[in-house]
């Protein structure tokens, strides 16, 4: 039966133009989506390269100046700009802290349009924590970006529904089912094969469309992540086919099948994700960004008014930085300022960490309920592959903050030890390298979704056998 179904299903799909239309549609949407994702990635890479080039140039200039100063030559620049003090370095020559997109970044824009992936932490300020607080664009939230993840999670199921909603009901309505059912073949096996074949052809088209869209946009295909991506997409397609198999075997009319399946689409793709999101936001509200900015400003003003006191406190807390007896009292503006910054940081930190805690609580809540919708699971995994998920930006933020602290402490230590900054010190300046999150557990998710598909299939067969016994499966009801 399979070989005949294979041959004739293919003939039918070609003759009623399903395959050519699907093929064209998918190639165009995939290519466009990959183009969008890739443009975003390229833009980010360009920004990062710009910053890095700028940093290199500025470093080269700094070294030149430093060299001249060290050789006792006269330099024509304001004393503030002479990079022979740690604070001049910390203030004017920040390191570029960047999060370079990975090779699969183009598949999902993810959070990359909300969060920044270039930071230049300077010692006088660490307000950049604010860059990571959420700025929500309602349009963006509503529609998402038109990237591959969007096409696969939202649009592909609709195509699958259109492609498979009436496999059984059309036969029934046309009357061919009676003739089929009078043959010595089991009807659910027959539909199962038809579904399997349609799944097979759609998967082939999707793979081809994906490969084409990658090739057109110069995205590297030869990476292990591509295999994971394919696995996720295929199991997602299978999930929708198994739902369609279930609805087909439940045996309503074509129109009802279509409505049921669209209902399931709304449920899994829209309702569950937005409910989980809404609930997460109401249980763990993110503190207001405006409040955070205002509090920070007020604090700074307050603290700057009492900088002398602040310094005393600071030195009491950091005895290692206190100057030797002979220098006592010989503190500059910078000493006071950095000490006050520390105080601001101490005050503002609870606010920042509240933000972090709430975000983490939200994420772990979402994680707890993600399994409710395969759309969410696949979406999340695809975002992880792209390296642009919330968790990735959270990871970058933590690394950036840690680096910024390290960078500041490095320079403050020099400041309080009254060390000048020399060419030699340049080599020991801390450097930032982004360590991406490990990509594990995707296989586990694929297997879980696969099991779900099998369960849906078994349920469908069970219900269909019941209907066969009642005698309502073949005849019109």
């Amino acid at each position: 039966m399979l070989s005949y179904n294979f041959t004739y299903e293919l003939k039918l799909l070609i003759r009623n133009k399903w395959l050519p239309i699907l093929g064209l549609l998918l190639v165009i949407t995939f290519a466009f989506a990959a183009f969008n994702g890739n443009s975003r990635t390229q833009k980010r890479i360009k920004e990062i390269t710009n910053i890095e080039t700028k940093t290199e140039l500025s470093d080269a200039n700094m070294l030149k100046l430093l060299d001249s100063v060290e050789k006792g030559l006269e330099v024509k620049t304001s004393f503030r700009n002479i990079p022979n003090t740690p604070m001049a370095i910390g203030y004017q020559h920040p390191r570029a802290v960047t999060m370079t997109p990975n090779g699969m970044s183009a598949i999902a824009i993810g959070q990359s349009d909300i969060f920044t992936d270039v930071i230049m932490p300077i010692t006088v300020d660490d307000d950049f924590g604010i860059d990571f607080t959420e700025m929500t664009s309602s349009i963006q939230l509503l529609f998402g970006s038109f990237d591959l993840t969007f096409v696969i999670i939202y649009l592909l199921p609709l195509l699958i529904i259109a492609f498979s909603y009436n496999i059984l009901s059309a036969e029934k309505e046309r009357g061919a089912l009676r003739l089929l059912a009078s043959q010595p073949v089991s009807i659910y096996k027959w539909i199962f094969q038809k579904m399997l074949l349609r799944f097979f052809w759609l998967s082939q088209i999707v793979i081809v469309a994906l490969v084409i869209s990658f090739l057109i946009n110069n995205i590297d295909l030869a990476q292990i992540q591509f295999i994971w991506l394919l696995g996720l997409i295929l199991v997602y397609i299978l999930f929708w086919f198994s739902l369609s198999f279930l609805i087909n075997l439940l045996g309503s009319s074509s129109a009802k099948n279509a409505v049921f399946l669209i209902g399931l689409w709304v449920f899994f793709v829209l309702l569950i994700p937005s409910s989980i999101n809404q609930i997460a936001h109401s249980i763990y509200p993110i503190p207001s960004r405006n409040k955070m900015v205002n509090t920070m400003r007020t604090l700074k003003v307050d603290v700057s008014k009492k900088q002398d006191k602040v310094l005393d406190h600071y030195l009491r807390d950091h005895p290692e930085l206190a100057s030797k007896e002979e220098d006592k009292g010989n503190y500059t503006f910078w000493h006071k300022y950095m000490a006050s910054l520390d105080l601001v940081a101490q005050e503002i930190n609870p606010l920042f960490s509240l933000y972090d805690e709430q975000l983490e609580a939200q994420q772990s809540w979402v994680k707890k309920w993600t399994w409710l919708s395969p759309s969410l699971v696949i979406n999340k995994e695809m975002n992880r592959i792209s390296g642009n998920s919330t968790a990735d930006y959270q990871n970058f933020k933590n690394q950036a903050l840690a680096f910024s602290k390290h960078w500041r402490n490095h320079l403050i230590f020099m400041l309080y030890n009254k060390q000048p900054f020399t060419t030699k010190d340049y080599r020991t300046l801390p450097k930032f390298t982004y360590k991406p999150l490990k990509l594990n557990g995707i296989g586990k998710h694929i297997v879980i979704e696969l099991i779900l598909c099998v369960l849906i299939g078994l349920l469908a067969v069970f219900l269909f056998k019941k209907r066969l016994q009642k005698g309502i499966a073949i005849l019109n009801n």
Binding site: K11, A176, S182, P184, G471
Partner: protein
């Protein structure tokens, strides 16, 4: 070939078929006459196991229809009232597909022989079914039955909607099958065609066979009289 014993189908309070006892042997054509809702189609649906009987049994080739439905379907062919095939496939392709999924592998020349035997004109073999008339589609249906080497043919009002010539051709075809030893059960409104081709005729009303005749033993007018009497009863 077909044996039913007290075959009954009830839908709630309504009895669609009441204690039907039939015995159709090889080479017999049994025509079931009756108005709409008399139970003719119910009988055929029960024999195909599309619906389950409330009580009684139906045997096809001595195999219980409800217990081994797929086994019984190896021996039978069925032509529904409105035979629908795949419109975008040709006659040959439809024949190939329906035989193929049932496990019968046919060569092209074998298929052409079957289509010819079923009376389909040669130039229609490779044409798509969507352009076919009901008579032509039924011929493809017969070809499927021939290819299956069916021992028994179930027909549900096959001549309704056929023009007299097509109806006549169809009758001839059934006679040919009868000579090959096929048992045929045909539900019909067409008294004339029934008289002409049947070996046995049953008149059905309210799910019961009210009268049963050997076709040779009465004339067409007698049959018509009995029919009308049964209906007006």
């Amino acid at each position: 070939m077909i044996v039913t014993t007290d075959l009954t189908k009830k839908y709630g309070d309504f009895t669609a078929l009441n204690n039907l006892n039939l015995n159709i042997k090889q080479g017999e054509i049994y025509c079931l006459l009756g108005a709409n809702g008399a139970g003719k189609s119910t009988t055929i649906n029960l024999l195909l196991n599309f619906i389950q009987p409330s009580s009684g049994t139906a045997l096809i080739n001595n195999i219980d229809v409800t217990k081994q439905p797929l086994e019984t379907k190896k021996y039978l062919a069925y032509i529904p009232e409105n035979l629908m095939l795949y419109p975008t496939l040709s006659a040959l392709e439809n024949l190939d597909y329906f035989s193929g999924i049932a496990g019968k592998v046919l060569t092209k020349s074998e298929m052409e022989v079957f289509l010819q035997e079923a009376g389909l004109q040669q130039d229609a073999f490779n044409k798509k079914i969507k352009a076919f008339s009901k008579g032509m589609r039924q011929k493809v249906g017969i070809a499927i039955a021939l290819a299956k080497d069916a021992k028994l043919l179930l027909l549900d009002e096959p001549t309704s909607g056929l023009d007299p010539k097509a109806s006549n051709e169809f009758g001839m075809l059934l006679k040919k099958l009868k000579q090959k030893g096929v048992a045929i059960l045909m539900a019909t409104h067409d008294i004339f065609r029934a008289k002409e081709i049947a070996t046995h005729i049953g008149i059905m009303r309210h799910g019961v066979i009210q009268h049963q005749f050997v076709a040779d033993q009465l004339s067409l007018s007698e049959l018509e009289k009995h029919y009308l009497e049964t209906m007006n009863y």
